[in-house]
């Protein structure tokens, strides 16, 4: 039996939910999932996720996470891996933005500044934890399959209790605690963070990033499917009072 035939049989067994966790691990390994960059692996995982086979997804989520946990992004350090590897963290409100004085680009940055604040590096960890938690939870709606609106509106997030993932503990802030303002630039490997977990990315850098973001949305929206998301980024409202414009 050829290797391809073997893999096909394994995949069939996987689809029929006849595989043990160990066998799933072996299949993922064969699909080059250790490297996380194999097209087969990605399409396999995405295909499962995107088509809403939530049960299967839950079944393999642990194995998938284990397989890709330590995968570095090509040329990008370990920033994304940190969503699984980062230590527990409770959200904190980021420092306020200082808004530039005038001008379209800077005013544009205000529009985006509304949705961009200094971001502790733990944010991605939290987001990842949240997603992971949703994937783990029986009632989770983090499956990426297209679902009715109601399903999204009814995201059930463990609010007050820490969520335990395999070998790691992650804390999700309860609603009464300070939550992140809104979408935030995360300080990946770009900037260090202080002991509080607060990013030290200078305000000026973030202001400039906001200008870039909105100008990217202006021109990119006409070409990109994701342009609509950029537009929504601009229109989404802030929960945070911004400082007076600089003179």
């Amino acid at each position: 039996m050829s290797e391809m035939q073997t893999q096909q049989e394994l995949i069939s067994a996987f689809l029929d939910e006849e595989m043990s966790p160990q066998q799933i691990d072996e299949l993922l390994a064969q699909l080059d999932c250790e490297q996380g960059r194999g097209l087969v692996c990605r399409q396999a995982m995405l295909g499962t996720v995107l088509t809403g086979q939530a049960k299967v997804y839950r079944d393999i989520s642990g194995a998938v996470r284990a397989a890709i946990r330590e995968e570095p992004l090509p040329g990008a350090g370990n920033t994304v891996v940190s969503i699984f590897a980062a230590k527990a963290a409770v959200r904190s409100v980021a420092p306020r933005w200082k808004v530039p004085a005038a001008g379209l680009a800077l005013a544009a940055s205000m529009a985006v500044a509304a949705i961009v604040v200094v971001q502790p590096s733990s944010h991605r960890a939290e987001s990842g934890a949240l997603l992971a938690a949703q994937q783990e939870a029986p009632t989770a709606s983090a499956s990426l399959a297209l679902q009715p609106a109601a399903a999204v509106a009814q995201v059930e997030v463990p609010a007050s209790a820490p969520v335990k993932l395999a070998a790691r503990e992650l804390v999700i802030a309860p609603p009464e605690q300070a939550r992140p303002i809104i979408a935030q630039w995360s300080s990946a490997d770009a900037q260090p963070v202080n002991l509080d977990g607060a990013a030290t990315m200078p305000v000026n850098v973030q202001e400039r990033l906001n200008s870039y973001l909105i100008n990217h949305a202006r021109y990119g929206g006409g070409y990109a499917l994701s342009g609509s998301l950029g537009y929504a980024r601009v229109a989404a409202s802030p929960q945070q009072r911004m400082d007076e414009p600089r003179k």
Binding site: I11, V40, R42, Q43, A44, L46, G47, T51, G52, Q53, V64, L73, T79, A102, G103, L104, A105, L106, A107, A111, A114, H123, R124, S127, G128, L130, L144, L146, A149, V152, I182, A183, W185, S186, A188, D189, Q191, N204, V205, R208, L209, Y212, H216, R218, Y219, G222, Y223, A224, L225, S226, G227, S228, L229, Y231, R233, V234, A235, A236, S237, P238
Partner: protein
């Protein structure tokens, strides 16, 4: 083998041909421009949810659109043809752009459709979805390499308007989403729906202008990429004066038809204003570095590897002398 695996794992849910999915996307392209609709949408970024109200109509060959936030501080965006006005009451500012944002929903070029097959796997899921109480057709756009993200859209069965757009990482993480929770398709929408109720008297009015031909002061060179990820092409090149920056900012926009990447080059940037390395916002990644006396920043709804690729391959080259 690859096709087998993709098909097999998508397999429990029947998928139909690329051509059918493409036809749906082309219908979507027309619908986002020509449909008249009003609705409420949710923008989701990680665990953040924001609610937006949207009105859109196509009348006398022009698009009118109005979008405003229903939660938090007010934000309003009006679009009449190409002109976009952003009203920010909390900042007491009105931003007017004669060629502004291209609208809430995406419009794809013909070239984009033609390129899709090379870099994305298009899959229409036979099973119907349901969003905002309406039947919709699920289309998945799976990237074939590491340089782009994946998309999932659900198109209204009757009008082909996208009721749900998702940006998904190569690990299956939902990065961002726009989802209608309520939508109607009336025959007409009165013009009153496209007028802001915000009193902007006393607000600052702000605009941005392009660098006119011959006005440039540093045209001895131009920017080029030594190498571009497969499928990406240069779509626009702009030089504009931005308030607060003495020299013009150069923006290069590359797209593969679905994903877009912008490169910004600014001279004389102060070190404290310069991003060094990688950062992200939802599905948007950014990468910054110095090259000579210029700082370049790459921004796009693409993986970190992609923004870094663009940033590391950007070079200054002498401009071609005019004949």
């Amino acid at each position: 083998m690859l096709k087998f695996v993709a098909a097999a794992l998508i397999g429990g849910v029947p998928a139909v041909a690329f051509a059918d999915a493409l036809e749906w996307l082309q219908r979507m392209n027309e619908a986002v421009r020509e449909a008249t609709y009003q609705g409420t949408a949710v923008y989701r970024n990680g665990d953040q949810l924001e609610t937006l109200r949207i009105y859109h109509r196509f009348i006398e060959g022009e698009e009118n659109e109005r979008m405003f936030s229903l939660s938090g501080q007010p934000r309003e965006i009006l679009r009449q043809a190409e002109q976009v006005t952003c009203i920010m009451p909390d900042q007491r500012a009105v931003l007017t752009d004669p060629q502004g944002l291209r609208g809430l929903l995406p419009k794809l070029s013909r070239a984009a459709f033609e390129q899709l097959r090379s870099h994305y796997e298009l899959i229409e899921v036979a099973a119907q979805g349901r969003v905002a109480g309406r039947a919709c057709r699920q289309i998945q756009v799976l990237a074939k390499d590491i340089y782009r993200y994946n998309y999932a859209v659900c198109l209204d069965q009757q009008h082909a308007l996208p009721l749900d757009i998702r940006l998904v990482s190569d690990r299956g993480e939902l990065l961002e989403q726009v989802l209608f929770t309520q939508i109607e398709f009336p025959e007409h929408l009165a013009k009153e729906h496209f007028v802001s109720a915000v009193d902007t008297e006393g607000f600052r009015h702000i605009s941005q202008h392009r660098v006119a031909a011959g006005q440039a002061d540093d045209q001895a060179f131009t920017w080029e990429l030594l190498e571009v990820p497969a499928g990406f092409r240069l779509a626009t090149r702009e030089r504009q004066y931005w308030p607060g920056i003495e020299s013009p900012v150069t923006q290069l926009l590359y797209t593969d038809g679905l994903a877009a990447v912008s490169i910004f080059a600014t001279p004389e940037q102060l070190p404290e204003e310069a991003l060094q390395g990688l950062t992200s916002l939802g599905g948007v990644n950014a990468y910054g570095r110095m090259t000579g006396t210029f700082h370049i920043t790459v921004v796009g709804e693409v993986p970190q590897a992609t923004v870094r690729f663009f940033g590391d391959n950007l070079r200054q080259v002498p401009s071609q002398p005019l004949p």
